[in-house]
Amino acid sequence: MPRLKRQFERLSHLFLPLSVLVFLLIINLIKGADYFKITMINGVFYGNIPNILFGASELVILSIGMTLVTAAARGQDISIGESGAISSAIFVQYVLAAGEVTIWTILAGFLISCVAGLVIGAFNGTLVSFFNVQPMVATLILFLGGRSIAFIIDGKVSPILANPISNQIGTVIPGVPIQTPIILTAVFLVLVAVVLKTTNLRLYVEAVGINPSAARLNGINPKKVIFLTFLLMGICSAVAGFIAVNKAGRHDSVNLLKFIMMDAILAVALGGNSLAGGKFSITGSIIGAYTIEVLNRTLLRLEVNPEAIKAFKAVFIIILMILASPVVRVFARKLLDKTKAIVTSYSVRQTGGLNKAVVSITDSSAKKEE
């Protein structure tokens, strides 16, 4: 029983993001009952749910990296969209230079773009871990200059990826009923889960995030751990850039993954993670990322005035954060306890428990007298 309770407490932080997701889905169902309908067109599943999974794939991947960085470095990386743009620009250039495009070309290009992501992550990580710069300030540099670097790599045009394999990665592979970005995201999630299960990454990151000097005294090098999280963030952004550029079919250095860092940070916060570092929950962040995508699509589906979408989103976030805030939580718990007390006292009186209590008290006093 205590083990079950512990298990439940471990999952209690997922309560908020999940309930929000369910709430949004119910709104969608009220709007139209055919929300969950999935149709098969040309052997591929389409519908609202596949579209959400398809649309949120980059955001999910980026929010995983952002969770790690937030937990270890106690700050946010605001250059993720830019680093994705740079690494995908390198990928596009490699593929275009190769001439004949095979699956191996794409794979090699992807690996090269991952290396580029690692280099960018190392740049940010060096600043944060070895120079003790606050993460937001350190990543501000690439945020300001990153798009221009991608633009120069592109050769000042927006190159088009017009080959069948990229097209298949961006949309569907013939014979597979699920869109490819969804599959890639699932593979990535499985990889992350395996890494977190088999390595000490979670323990180290949480230790560093909770107290870096205590972690150092226990033999964990906080600098190395923070550096490592930035490297992982670089890989995440390279993968997200790879998916985004294949989805779009062309590399638009100005608009690719633009302002996605805001959504990624939001996803981390919606998932019940503290933005001041420490314990983290990747599952929460993933649910948060899907919630943001559902929210965006819900606002579109409810036919909200497109100019006012951002305002509605803001109001929604504010209400959500108020409900999740520690003060309100404590208040709710107090209220719950009070109602519980009232209910129990009422039920005791109802069942004649009061008489029994009186009898037992007199009994005990009688025993004492003896």
Partner: protein, 365 residues
């Protein structure tokens, strides 16, 4: 660094002052480089005043951000609030019913409303400042696009007169090729900037609120132990930042004369960069308020320098990013050197209690 410490062994330089000095030296260095490489344009006083004339709103936004950053928070809604205020004021002035005072009141009101919302949610409900101000940014952007989408030029005569109004400084100026003396001009918004800088500097230096804010930004727990009302202090800092953003919106309208969706875009990022250059740390508790205008001036000088050098437009962002990188690394190296020195001086008395203190002093000297 070392010489500074030796000059004043009794009163050690505080981190704030040290960072402020670094910021000042960097600014003088940048301006010196600008003077040497482009003497014709930078030697004119008007160039210097134009920084203020054209970017008054950025200066004001930076001041508000500086206060929040000293308190250990962040407010990324300032740019969007600034843009919203310009559009709302432009609409009010164009509708024919409102006058300039009404617009000013509206600007202050919008700023105050956002400040109160952020302050209450962050200080009293203990929600993470980044998320709440991000929501505030979305809200301001959404309201801005709902209000009006097209650029809106203000043609109200009284406002245009105020916009055109310039103050000439008769004893400063340049002689042009024809031998005609052209005095320097400053706009009324520059006076707003100067007044706000002085006001806030006094507030942060000598008022109870300012001192409390430094304490809260440095360490919230010990500030509470000292009997400081932490929540109220943080609340006030966000209210002040919101108000400042409102003022900056009005000043922005005075500068450009039009409400536009793109107004104040990326001001929050620019303000953070300027504050970092001015020696104000995002961790809180460290920084001199006068560093904010100095940092903004440095940022503007760099941009102007890059533009004057004729660097390609897409390289400009990279170069300014690289310069920012250099400053950040320089700041960090100086701070870590200082930290190491502190470490070595502070540790011996606890680690070696059996050693006589005189010997330790002599050994260290």
């Amino acid at each position: 660094m070392g010489s500074l410490n030796r000059c004043k062994p009794k009163t050690r330089l505080s981190n704030s002052t040290l960072l402020f000095l670094i910021a000042g030296i960097i600014f003088l260095l940048m301006y010196g480089i600008a003077l040497i490489s482009f003497p014709v344009s930078f030697r004119q006083f008007q160039t210097f005043f134009d920084f203020f004339n054209l970017n008054a709103a950025l200066f004001i936004v930076t001041l508000g951000m500086c206060i929040v950053m000293i308190g250990g928070g962040i407010d990324i809604s300032v740019g969007a609030v600034c843009g919203l205020v310009t559009m709302a004021c432009a609409l009010l002035l164009q509708s024919g019913t409102g006058n300039i005072w009404g617009a000013l009141l509206l600007a202050l009101g919008i700023g105050l409303a956002f400040g109160l919302m952020h302050g209450y949610l962050i200080a009293y409900l203990e929600i993470q400042p980044f998320i709440i101000t991000l929501a505030g940014m979305f809200l301001a952007q959404g309201l801005l696009t709902t209000l009006h989408k097209e650029p809106l030029n203000v043609t109200k005569p009284a406002f245009v007169a105020l916009r055109r109004f310039t103050i000439e400084i008769p004893w400063l100026g340049t002689v042009n090729r024809l031998g005609v003396f052209i005095p320097c001009e400053i706009k009324p918004s520059v006076i707003v900037v100067v007044v706000l800088v002085l006001l806030y500097a006094v507030l942060m230096k000598w008022s109870r609120f300012g001192r409390n804010l430094y304490a809260v930004g440095g360490n919230r727990q010990s500030a509470r132990m000292l009997g400081i009302n932490v929540k109220k202090t943080i609340f006030l800092s966000y209210v002040l930042c919101g108000l400042t953003a409102g003022i900056s919106g009005f000043v922005f309208l005075l500068t450009t004369g039009a409400g536009n969706i793109g107004n104040g875009a990326l001001y929050e990022i620019k303000a953070i960069a300027a504050n970092v250059m001015g020696g104000i740390m995002l961790n809180g508790g460290v920084g001199n308020l006068l560093g904010a205008p100095i940092g903004t001036l440095t940022l503007l000088t760099i941009n102007e320098l890059i533009r004057a050098a004729g660097v390609q437009s897409n390289l400009q962002a990279i170069v300014s990013g690289l310069l920012l990188y250099l400053f950040i690394v320089l700041q960090s190296i100086i701070m870590s050197l200082r930290d190491k020195r502190k470490f070595r001086l502070a540790l011996p008395p606890w680690l070696k209690p059996h050693q006589p203190p005189e010997g330790k002093e002599a050994g260290n000297q």
